[in-house]
Amino acid sequence: MRSFTYSRAGSAAEAVGRAAAGTAFVAGGTNLLDLMKADVLRPEGLVDISRLPLDRIEETAEGGLRLGALARNADTAYDERVQTRYPMLSKAILAGASAQLRNMATNGGNLLQRTRCYYFYDTATPCNKRQPGSGCGAIGGVNRIHAILGASDQCIAVHPSDLCVALAALEAVVRVTGPDGERSIPFAELHRLPGDRPEIDTVLRPGDLVTAIDLPARGFAEHSTYLKIRDRASYAFALVSVAAGLEMDGDTVRDARLALGGVAHKPWRDPEAEAALIGKPATPDRFRAAARVLLRDAKGHEHNSFKIELAERAIVRALTEAAERKGASRP
């Protein structure tokens, strides 16, 4: 951890005003301080936004919920309304990290957490995301946890969030305030693919502050699930995760949402895969067909090719569970 200045912002506007090159907002701190200790991030100043009044969970006029950016992950997951109306989201949050970290981490920070790629974390190794132009250590290196979709020849890192996978499936909207005022970003547009600028994770601009995440009214509460597959039973990042939401008409799928985690630089969705489900009977064969659409461009590396088959099986399992699920159940 290098030298930095610390100040606490009294308002969102003040925070945005203090944002300058080399300055970072800190709220939960669980990812930022970790990366600062690892010398991966070296902000010259921290603006503490953790006491801004952005921690509420409120109803929206459209019948959805507004999750404050500074609401803690645990408070979000255990919120009665979230559990009832968006069980997939609650389940996703509780599948991530540990109870302690969920008590600290905020919703806004969760969106902006950085990859867990080994090379990103180890400053003695090449990493285009950490040090543009230094190369990608994972390509040709140790890449068991890396991307099978949407990667580039510059970067095969994955986004580590569970929450974001559910938010992608739910088509949440991210509310941002910044030097140019307020704006809304559809969730699918928030995270980028690495391309030739892997150092940039999101479309946020310097000084942008996430203030809230809006959940639309449709929560797929009756038929949804979040399935996370990892190397131990808890407290590990996903090898593959699936957020699945269905609206059923008897045994027929009326609408479908499907997002994958642990496989790409962002939560992975594909309208064509969802279209392959809509209007079709909820059968394993149909689910598998949809999975294959979603995974049609998947490409494995030396250690992670298993993720392609694993993802397909996980999708079938998650959709099966979602289709079977009757009524909202607490996670």
Partner: protein, 758 residues
């Protein structure tokens, strides 16, 4: 039979503390935060050191620029190979009690880089955060040289080591004609097994605090399993008088072998303290916990040949392991395979391949934890081919005597382990065919394996001081790394002298105490416990002598063997009304305190003619998701034969913990090396997976009766290692039973299961 010294003051009272589930005597300190570990001692003006680790795996430092670090106010010094003082010259000065053959690594010795994360500089500053910051500013340029870290690519370049490390014998010469017998066997198994490199990763990161006193003496709080091992090392390396340094480790936050050798944070802290003449703490980071010592990666071949009735005809076990360029770390791996089953045609081979890595280091059940699972999977495969129950196959080939030496076992109740373990588990209800048991989407598998570990004993001394108040203090320079040493030694002492546990204090972790070897290999109860018993026996004899001399003593003329000690009293065995309290005896004789010191040695003659070993039978149920390949261990029964169990509560915890290690070894733990960089990449707790609470089910531990009057005066063998041995195999065998998928590469991550499920 070998004549064994009689056991005077021991287990003479049925209600003595030996064998009782006594709660840890250090428990209160540990649950209140009052147990202090190496990084938790301080003096005013304590400096903080941060180690800089090498960015490359092999080559040399061409330039090291410390100017930016030193420019920061509060940075005191940066130690590098360029400014280190002259230190000990000969390799023998750098050797420690656990050093294998070779030249020990010398931190900051020269510009050469021998392995990734090698310590290359120490930044010393006023605060921890400043030292860490300044360490990032040390600019180092390297000239990289080609390196080799891939065992598979280098296995052909292996060599046969000799007796290069204490505690390990080279494999015995082949017996019979194993190759011919294998080819002639009607039923054969021949397979290759791999074991990934594992890191000890105790919860407490390695740390050393050196307290520099005004008189120039040093108190060194080090994370170690052997205070005297470290004491000798630093005195030798830094040319210090033994009396000028005291090494302490009253509490050790786990070690599992990582503290068997002095690690480089000790060197660094000592270097700074002696050069700067001030107190300093050096604590490694979690990634730096991957910069020394690990369970070496291993490739093995096991070939078994058998008759159709299951009689083993041939057993071949070959292993190749990694070691460093500078030392021959050996753990032999294969010898237990020649000991575990009766077989006339056996070949055991063990070779090393030198790689550009730091020297591996004993990790819980070194060798056996790696080798026995390979054998035990092969046995399971053989049982499958024979259509035989795996337990029956093991009983069929049960070794009544040690086939490696022809010697009898001092005791071996493995059969009882099989019987009681199977009964507790319900093994008889197992449906033999793979994939024949399920619960919804989960395939259920039941697997078993046997385990074995050596029951070793070293030499140790202990001191006892009995006060006139009836309080006893016993001490020895051993360690308690969570094993329960404090508690067990207290029980032994209390038992011999008939004292309540509360009246006995056991001291350890201090180099100034009577000599004890490093704590490891499950030998501490045997080694130090024998010394504690011996010294308490002397105190006992003195008390009896004093009691006999007292005027009007009700104990006059009573022979030692007719006396029992209980409730802080000396009591005549056959007339319990004749008694005196210890306090009465001491007051009456005008004795303020009784001080004794004693040394205990192993029964060498008995040891020359017998094999001493602990045994286990492990039964595991796994649940495998048939679609996803995820495995969870649903229940475990571990039946242990380890002689007398001094404390069933702490011993049970030892076995449970070792089973958890077996789950980690079987399913999770693996250091991933990028061989292009020669560097372990998952060097933290997030990506190097050790089991979490949710991975671990109920673990049923049972200790079978095993009487052994040859192993030592306690009849106890030690339980630190035996619990892990066999567990990975039982898991692998259960996975096969559940799924029909045979995985021979540890850890068995879900991708390996999935590959077979396709």
């Amino acid at each position: 039979m070998i004549a064994i010294p009689s056991i005077p003051g021991f287990l003479t009272e049925p209600n003595g503390p030996i064998g009782k589930p006594v709660s840890r005597v250090d428990g209160r300190k540990k649950v209140t935060g009052n147990a202090h570990y190496a990084a938790e001692f301080t003096l005013p003006d304590l400096a903080h050191g941060c180690i800089v680790s090498s960015a490359i795996a092999r080559g040399r430092i061409t330039r090291i620029d410390t100017a930016a670090a030193l420019a920061l106010p509060g940075v005191i010094h940066v130690f590098t190979h360029e400014n280190r003082p002259s230190l000990a010259w000969f390799d023998r000065k750098w050797k420690d009690d656990d050093a294998p053959k070779g030249a020990p690594f010398r931190p900051l010795y020269d510009a050469e880089i021998h392995h990734a994360l090698q310590p290359v500089a120490l930044v010393v500053a006023d605060s921890f955060e400043l030292a860490r910051y300044a360490a990032r500013l040390v600019h180092i340029e390297y000239e990289a040289a080609p390196h080799q870290t891939d065992l598979r690519a280098n296995r052909a370049n292996s060599f046969t080591p000799g007796k290069d490390k204490g505690g390990f014998q080279p494999p015995p010469k082949p017996r019979g004609d194993p190759e011919q017998a294998f080819l002639a066997s009607p039923v054969r198994v021949d397979a290759e097994f791999t074991q990934a490199a594992e890191y000890h990763n105790p919860m407490e990161m390695h740390a050393t605090t050196v307290l520099h006193h005004d008189d120039g003496t040093l108190t060194v709080h080090d994370k170690t399993q052997g205070v005297q091992n470290c004491h000798t090392y630093i005195c030798n390396v830094f040319g210090l008088a033994k009396s000028a340094v005291r090494v302490m480790s009253p509490f050790v936050g786990g070690a599992f072998g990582s503290g068997l050798r002095p690690q480089h944070q000790l060197f660094m802290a000592m270097l700074a303290a002696t050069q700067l003449k001030r107190s300093i703490r050096v604590e490694l980071s979690r990634p730096q916990m991957f910069s020394f010592g690990h369970r070496p990666e291993t490739i093995q071949r096991v070939a078994l040949g058998a008759d159709r009735d299951g009689t083993l005809r041939a057993l071949i076990h070959e292993a190749v392991q990694e070691s460093s360029r500078n030392e021959n770390y050996v753990e032999i791996v294969v010898n237990w395979s020649g000991q575990q089953y009766a077989c006339d045609n056996v070949r055991l081979d063990y070779t090393l391949s030198r790689l550009d890595v730091h020297t591996p280091l004993d990790q819980r059940a070194p060798g056996a934890a790696t080798g026995v699972p390979a054998l035990e999977i092969a046995m399971d495969e053989l049982a499958c081919k024979l259509g035989m129950d795996p337990l029956d196959l093991r009983l069929k080939n049960y070794a009544e005597t040690d086939p490696n030496t022809g010697n009898p076992f001092s005791s071996k109740e493995l059969r009882a382990c099989f019987r009681h373990g199977a009964e507790r588990f319900g093994w008889a209800k197992r449906s033999p065919a793979p994939r024949s048991m399920r619960d919804g989407r989960e395939l259920i598998g039941w697997g078993m394996a046997a385990g074995v570990w050596d029951a070793m004993q070293g030499q140790a001394a202990a001191k006892a001081v009995l006060g006139v108040d009836g309080k006893l203090v016993v001490s020895s320079a051993t360690a308690d790394i969570g094993t329960g040493t404090y508690t067990v030694m207290t029980q032994i002492a209390a038992d011999v002298l008939g004292l309540p546990i509360e009246e006995v204090t056991f001291c350890l972790g201090d180099s100034s105490l009577p000599a004890a070897p490093v704590e490891g290999g499950s030998w501490t109860v045997s080694t130090v416990g024998s010394a504690v018993k011996a010294v308490c026996d002397r105190v006992r004899s003195q008390l009896i002598a004093l009691a006999g001399k007292l005027e009007n003593s009700p104990l006059k003329g009573v022979a030692e063997e007719d006396m029992v000690f209980a409730d802080s009293h000396l009591i005549v065995r056959n007339d319990r009304s004749r008694r005196l309290s210890i306090t009465e005896v001491m007051r009456g004789s005008g004795t303020l305190s009784i001080e004794e010191e004693a040394r205990a040695l192993p029964y060498l003659l008995a040891r020359a003619r017998h094999t001493f070993a602990t045994h286990s039978a492990v039964f595991v149920e796994v649940r495998v998701d048939e679609d996803l390949g995820t495995v969870r261990v649903a229940r475990v029964v571990s039946a242990i034969a380890a002689g007398r169990i001094i404390n069933p509560k702490t011993a049970r915890s030892q076995i449970q913990g070792a089973v958890v290690w077996g789950i980690g070894m079987g399913l999770e733990e693996e250091a991933f090396t990028d061989h292009r960089l020669g560097r372990v990449m998952n060097h933290d707790y997030a990506e190097y997976h050790v089991p979490v609470n949710a991975d671990v089910p109920e673990i049923d531990v049972l200790f079978v009766e095993e009487h052994d009057d040859m192993v030592n005066a306690l009849g106890a063998k030690g339980v630190g290692e035996i619990g892990i041995v066999g567990v990975p195999a039982a898991i692998a065998n259960a996975i096969h039973h559940a799924t029909g998928v045979r995985v021979r590469d540890f850890p068995i991550t879900l991708d390996k299961v999935l590959a077979g499920l396709r």
